[in-house]
């Protein structure tokens, strides 16, 4: 066991910290899930990209710094410690990018990744449909082959698309084999959200922001990718036709596992919770409340340590596999607990539309998105504990 950082990792931390401290906007930006807020977040993303802080763990050629997984964790810790803005690029850089690295052609990597890291293209995630939520294999949106025109025609509807109204691309599953059922016969498409045949309607989430969208496809044409920017700008296919399920699963495990929610985020929230409790101590803090603060804070530490052991495994070549579902359950429920305790500390002030109430409402979506926690519990039970499926 070696729980210390190397000299070069410490140097990386110092560099990240000083850059963040002098660049993170204050006061903090309005929510990136509103039109005005999104524009400001985009500026921030451009600033990150300009100094190569947008995607530290990527190769330099695509806008990164070739940072190790450890350095990525350090960056995240520092990012949330100084209260860095939410990442409106997250669905691209954390969810689509790992899939492009794994399944994309060299031309696709060269074209899409730099545009993604520099926030030229903004990606949203198109899994869910009105009748395909937890049961993602029930996807009905389809892509029909148009041999004469040399491409695919997309139709159908996606929904709950986070920041869909502000993004210019979507990645998602479309049924390409009309005879197919369930997991077979779907293809992973990258789709532009501008042009004929696509309509995006934004709508409000629980917290009042226009963070959701539904996306309608009506004969949207996507030409075959001939490896040139002219076709790639109009979208394309990731992986093989009819093999989309396997490709998509690679993305969902990134979502549940390491990349979407690093421990730094929750440790920062836990630190703010402790600060809040200290502030409130003048009003007399009950032992019960102090205990609740301590308990939530311990859980944030536990999540961080669990992640360190996961990363050790990954670095040494052990795949997380279905264990990533443990992460997803834990961080999402931890986030809810941290906010619940904060609201309890606030007492009557809790109802005011402040950062804790806002954060609480967002935390409550954690057990729903990225595969509901009921589904994650099924996955752990069946694939980690080995209980029978049926």
């Amino acid at each position: 066991m070696d729980l210390t950082w190397s000299e070069s990792e410490e140097a990386f931390r110092t560099e990240a910290r000083s850059w963040l401290e002098s660049n993170v906007p204050t006061p903090s930006l309005p929510s990136g899930d509103t039109k005005e807020g999104f524009a400001l977040h985009l500026e921030w993303e451009h600033r990150l990209a300009a100094d190569q802080w947008a995607v530290v763990s990527w190769p330099k050629a695509f806008g990164g710094r070739d940072a190790s997984l450890w350095e990525w964790l350090i960056f995240e810790e520092e990012y949330y410690r100084v209260g860095g803005p939410q990442r409106v690029t997250q669905n691209g850089i954390f969810l689509l990018a790992p899939t492009i690295f794994e399944f994309g052609t060299a031309a696709q990597q060269d074209y899409y990744l730099p545009r993604m890291s520099s926030a030229v293209d903004l990606w949203c995630q198109g899994w869910s449909e009105p009748n395909a939520g937890s049961d993602l294999a029930a996807v009905r949106s389809k892509a029909t082959r148009d041999e004469a025109a040399g491409g695919w025609r997309l139709s159908g509807q996606k929904t709950w698309t986070t920041r869909g109204a502000f993004c210019n691309y979507l990645f998602g599953l479309f049924r390409t084999d009309p005879e197919s059922e369930r997991h077979k016969g779907m293809t992973y498409f990258m789709v532009p959200l501008e042009g004929d045949g696509v309509t995006v309607r934004g709508f409000g989430r629980l917290d009042g922001d226009e963070g959701f969208a539904e996306v309608f496809f009506d004969d949207l044409f996507i030409p075959d990718d001939d490896g040139t920017p002219d076709t790639m700008v109009r979208g394309g296919i990731l992986g093989e036709v009819n093999q989309g399920w396997g490709v998509a699963m690679a993305t969902t495990s990134s979502e549940r596992g390491l990349t979407l929610r690093s421990p730094g985020r929750f440790q920062a929230t836990a630190t703010r919770l402790v600060d809040l409790a200290r502030e409130r101590m003048g009003d007399g803090l009950s032992q019960q409340m102090a205990d609740a603060v301590a308990d939530a804070w311990i859980d944030a530490e536990a999540y961080s340590l669990f992640t360190l052991s996961d990363v050790t495994g990954v670095v040494e070549g052990v795949s997380m596999g279905a264990r990533s579902s443990y992460n997803k359950i834990f961080w999402s429920e931890l986030d809810v607990r941290l906010h619940e305790v904060a609201l309890d500390l606030l007492g009557a002030e809790a109802e005011l539309d402040g950062p804790w109430m806002k954060g609480y409402q967002f935390a409550l979506s954690g057990p729903i998105y990225a595969g509901t926690n009921e589904i994650q519990r099924n996955i752990v039970a069946e694939r980690v504990l080995g209980l029978p499926r049926k």
């Binding site: 450890w70 039970a381 504990l385």
Partner: protein, 372 residues
């Protein structure tokens, strides 16, 4: 950065696991109970010990793992011993492994520079000749409940209970500001009924005749040693609780794949799956806290006590959860002493409260975080 056991530690752990699987199964555990009936079988007349397992551990040098080389030990650290206590927990070993190899060694190492008695005891631990008990007791000598706490309770949880007392060679008695070496035969011991018979628990009253002749450490040195020893005791219990939890969950998962109702394996029911996932989630996130605390103790990290408390609070809660889920998923068969589950479940209940329960350790954390 590397948060994992070393190859050697993994190997050592596997060997100990195998050794305990051979020498400390449910039959041997039942034989450690004084009373065959409450044990659900066995010969009865046990004294809280599994001699076959103890001598095998002694032979392997496990007892002297943290003893300095000068006294014939392996001079290894908490980081090496704690993983073995995970295995002791898994096996349900009732013997004073944590007490002898961890807590006592910690105390004796503090005393060894000035005390030939301490050096001698360390050497005897290393050869596996002796087993020791360690108690963090209330110095109010008339205390008869064994539960009353003192001012120092915010740092060290006290209790006047000692398991397997009649089998011990010596007892190290930690009071507020002194550490004494006492012969169990000289103590007024009263057998009490632990929920876990294999602990063969005794209550004692701190003897009046303690003094210079019994003292190994006094004053600030005693306080420092006591705190370090208590931290090890709490962390050792935490490690055993994680092992116990894993054992109970393994048994339960196996049962849930064998037992059928409504024509299907009960493990296919979602309610059953979620019970077991919740229990295992708590264990998976408590274990890293335990391993980190072991590293902190080994390195003398100034935050070691905090790390120990985080680990013990979460391990105690995880074990109680694992016990509850295991019993529920077993149904009535888990509710009988003839089935093995109770052996591990009862140990979990006992250890969950030993050396500070969830509340106690959470408070050590909140005191540190909030400076209260």
């Amino acid at each position: 950065m590397r948060f994992a056991l070393t190859e050697d530690q993994v190997e050592f752990r596997a060997v100990v696991r195998g050794l305990l699987a051979d020498t400390c199964g449910p039959d041997e555990l039942r034989a450690a109970w004084p009373d065959a009936e409450t044990a659900g079988g066995g010969p009865g007349g046990g004294n809280g010990r599994v001699p076959g397992a103890w001598s095998a551990l002694a032979e392997m040098g496990v007892l002297g793992i943290m003893v300095p080389e000068a006294q014939g030990g392996l001079a290894m650290t908490e980081e090496d011993l704690i993983p073995l206590l995970l295995e002791a927990g898994w096996a349900g070993l009732p013997d004073p492994l944590a007490a002898t190899a961890g807590v006592a060694v910690t105390l004796l190492r503090h005393a060894s520079s000035s005390e030939p008695r301490a050096q001698e005891l360390l050497a005897q631990i290393a050869t596996g000749e002796i087993s020791l008990g360690c108690v963090f007791a209330n110095s109010s000598r008339s205390n008869s409940t064994g539960l009353e706490s003192t001012e120092s309770a915010s740092v060290v949880a006290v209790s006047n209970f000692v398991p397997a007392a009649t089998s011990l060679d010596q007892i190290l008695l930690c009071l507020d500001d002194s550490v004494h070496l006492v012969d169990p035969a000289s103590l007024h011991l009263e057998r009490v009924q632990s929920v876990d018979g294999a602990r063969d628990l005794f209550h004692f009253v701190v003897p009046a005749e303690l003094g210079e002749s019994t003292a190994l450490l006094t004053g600030a040195a005693a306080q420092a040693a006591t705190l370090a020893a208590f931290d090890f005791a709490a962390l050792g219990a935490a490690a055993e609780l994680i092992g116990l939890s894993r054992r109970m969950l393994e048994m339960t998962i196996l049962y849930a794949t064998e037992r059928k109702q409504f024509g299907v394996q009960i493990g296919s029911f979602q309610a059953v799956k979620h019970h077991l996932t919740n229990a295992s989630l708590a264990v998976e996130f408590a274990e890293p806290l335990v391993l980190r605390a072991a590293n902190s103790l080994a390195l003398g990290n100034p935050q070691a006590s905090l790390h120990v408390s985080m680990a013990k609070a979460k391990a105690s809660a995880a074990a109680k959860g694992a016990a509850a889920a295991s019993l529920q998923v077993h149904g009535a068969i888990g509710y009988t002493v003839e089935y093995d589950l109770h052996l591990y479940m009862k140990r979990s209940w006992a250890l969950a409260g030993e050396f500070g329960d969830v509340e106690f350790h959470r408070r050590r954390v909140s005191a540190e975080l909030l400076a209260i």
